[in-house]
């Protein structure tokens, strides 16, 4: 289907199903129950899942296929966000021009940075991209204040000169409020609430728009992975010398890959601005670049679905795991004798709440050491185990009969 082979089509359908059903799947606990705070099915977080999914998919096209580790992808994300904001300030509050422009701007910037950074490979490439990203961050925070809003950042305002206020249905609110980013009149924050028994599911427009964009981005990534272009990128990673002597010029392939990857980041940045119309320079900081590296490695470098899983896991930890506090732990362990309860809470305390990074770090170490292929490899191993026990099961049945 759609030029994909069977396993890829199945994977795409699974992703589509997951994206569509996420508001339900991520809300497994009834409202008001003790575990309700582990529900991740609220619009804000779900949007972040898919947006960072796009970011990580794009990063993986570069890192997973060519092995070139960029430490500057947050610069493209940030540039995309600023570009999107300006579209919404100057042109129209409609998110489509914002998203397109953010992708284009990120593409142009990644072309410049890539052209210079790709002169080197390995650690030098990483350092060059890191240097560029930090320059972009500093520029955004200081020198480019007229464009980026400096430290206060950039927001949509009531008096923004939108040239086409009514363009494609996105007009300024009549009641004099700051208009919200919208798509043909549908506001990104608009949601449909579905109370069902003890549960309450929220179906948010913004999330579904991001979700559709992510599915498209994912589909594009599959096509790239399976294309001659993808094969050449794998060849770059495997043996540049052989590639060179096979009559192939690795440079333009690498640059094209870097730009595509940067555009994915810009797209993610644009969507971020469209969902929450405010941008600050911190979006470009190197920690943000490091985060996408973590997501990709955690999920599985060079796999299709891995980066999306990694992005989801890290964002879940950041937003949900970090909310567990001592009071809650005391509640959970209330059934234990006081001394043991206090002891357990003291032990666990550093790993929860603000200490979620510590847990994430430990988990990251465990994955690197025991599952170098990331979560996807973990899934594959489990799949193999299941298949093995299935294969042996019939034998087990027949043997006693004999």
């Amino acid at each position: 289907m759609l030029g994909l082979n069977k396993p890829d089509t199945r994977l795409l359908l699974i992703v589509i199903a997951l994206v569509a059903a996420a508001p339900i799947l991520l809300n497994p606990f009834p409202e008001g129950s003790g575990l309700a705070q582990f529900n991740a099915g609220y619009p804000d977080l779900m949007q972040r899942f898919v947006i960072f999914g796009i970011f990580a998919i794009g990063f993986n096209i570069l890192f997973g296929l060519t092995g070139y580790l960029s430490f500057g992808h947050a610069a493209f994300l940030g540039a995309g966000s600023y570009a999107g904001m300006w579209m919404m300030k100057l042109l129209s509050i409609n998110v489509i021009p914002a998203i397109i422009f953010s992708t284009v701007i990120a593409g142009v910037i990644s072309l410049l940075i890539g052209f210079i950074s790709l002169r080197r490979s390995g650690i030098y490439f990483s350092i060059l991209t890191l240097a560029f990203a930090q320059m972009a961050f500093s520029l955004a925070a200081s020198v480019l204040t007229p464009i980026t809003g400096g430290e206060t950042g950039l927001q949509t305002n009531l008096n923004d000169p939108r040239i086409f206020p009514e363009f494609l249905g996105g007009g300024a609110s009549i009641d004099g409020n700051i208009p919200k980013p919208s798509l043909f009149g549908i506001e990104m924050t608009a949601s449909y609430q579905l109370p069902l028994a003890g549960w309450e599911f929220t179906f948010n427009w913004g999330y579904y728009i991001c979700g559709i964009v992510m599915i498209l981005a994912f589909y594009m990534a599959i096509r790239i992975f399976r294309s001659p272009f993808g094969l050449m990128l794998k060849a770059v990673k495997s043996n540049q010398q052989r590639m060179n002597y096979t009559g192939l010029n690795a440079k333009p392939y690498m640059l094209a890959c870097f730009v595509i990857s940067g555009m994915y980041a810009g797209l993610a940045g644009g969507l971020m601005a469209a969902m929450d119309p405010q941008v600050g320079a911190e979006r470009m900081q190197w920690t943000a670049s490091g985060e996408v590296v973590l997501m990709t490695i955690l999920g599985g470098v060079g796999t299709l679905i891995g980066p999306v899983l990694g992005a989801g896991l890290i964002k879940y930890f950041e937003n949900i795991f970090s909310k567990i506090n001592d009071n809650l732990l005391h509640q959970w362990f209330a059934f234990l004798p006081d001394g043991i309860e206090d002891f357990l809470v003291t032990i666990i305390h550093p790993f929860i709440g603000k200490g979620w990074h510590l847990t994430l770090g430990l988990m990251f170490m465990a994955v690197i050491i025991f599952l170098p292929g990331g979560l996807v490899e973990g899934g594959k191993r489990i799949g193999r185990l299941v298949r093995k026990s299935k294969d042996t099961a019939p034998d087990g049945k027949t043997n006693p009969a004999e």
Binding site: R223, R242, Y245, G247, N249, Y253
Partner: protein, 251 residues
């Protein structure tokens, strides 16, 4: 006029004159061997043909065009393929993918962005690649990971990757180095077959005299960066200068 014309090529590395005034002419559809003791400059000379090194003096003409100043991929596109001393293949890829890369390079040139079409839909190229694999008896290893194969298989794969591009000139840098006798004989048979069935010129650097005398139509003996003699294998065998270069002047 040979397909490869080397004129007055000299190359100096610091104080070492690696090549001094090498003149060489490789005729079309022949197998030309370059032999010589260690450090004679054989590999340096080969590197001058493929764009890895640029000689300080002289010229290297291939098919009437100079190769000097061109990059390795441009030279490959002119019709020169090279097999390395240690097999250079795409270790992370499967055997068939290894074969597809040179097929694309041959058809589409050094760069063509094709991000949407799938590799699987390129049936024509895959047939080509599989036919070539069949020729080197590796079709059954099609889906194997290239890095996991034996050295002999890697060598055959590398040769197949070069041949599938139907180069005009095939450069072989010690293709049997480190091989067992049986593997060496297989390689000789394979090269003999290639020579007989294809419209190809072969230039080979080799230590193993058995290989050289089985395959070569002409032999150039290189010693200390300069050609000592160039002649047919029969004449080279008994040449006093060759013995001297190989066995040393003390004898």
């Amino acid at each position: 006029m040979g397909i490869l014309e080397v004129k007055d090529v000299g190359k100096r590395f610091g104080g070492l004159q690696a090549l001094g005034n090498v003149n060489l002419s490789v005729n079309e559809r022949t197998c030309h061997a370059i032999i010589g003791p260690n450090g004679a400059g054989k590999s340096t000379l080969l590197n001058c043909f493929v764009g890895k090194l640029i000689p300080d003096t002289g010229s290297v003409m291939f098919d009437g065009q100079s190769v000097l100043g061109r990059t390795p991929y441009e030279i490959n596109q002119m019709g020169i393929s090279r097999v390395f001393q240690t097999p250079e293949i795409f270790g992370d890829l499967s055997v068939i993918e290894n074969m597809m890369v040179p097929c694309f390079a041959k058809r589409d040139g050094s760069y063509r962005l094709q991000g949407i079409r799938s590799v699987a839909s390129e049936t024509e190229l895959r047939d080509q690649a599989e036919a070539m694999l069949d020729e080197v008896n590796m079709l059954d290893k099609r889906n194997m990971n290239a890095a996991s194969m034996s050295r002999g298989d890697k060598r055959r794969l590398e040769m197949a990757m070069c041949l599938v591009q139907s180069p005009k000139l095939l450069l072989l840098d010690e293709p049997t180095a480190g091989m067992a006798r049986a593997d060496t004989n297989n390689t000789i048979d394979l090269l003999q077959e290639i020579k007989d069935t294809r419209d190809i010129t072969i230039a080979i650097i080799e230590h193993d005299m058995h290989v050289v005398f089985s395959l070569a139509d002409r032999i150039t003996v290189l010693a200390q960066g300069t050609p000592l003699v160039e002649d047919t294998p029969d004449n080279i065998k008994g040449h006093p200068k060759v013995r001297e270069a190989y066995l040393g002047e003390a004898h």
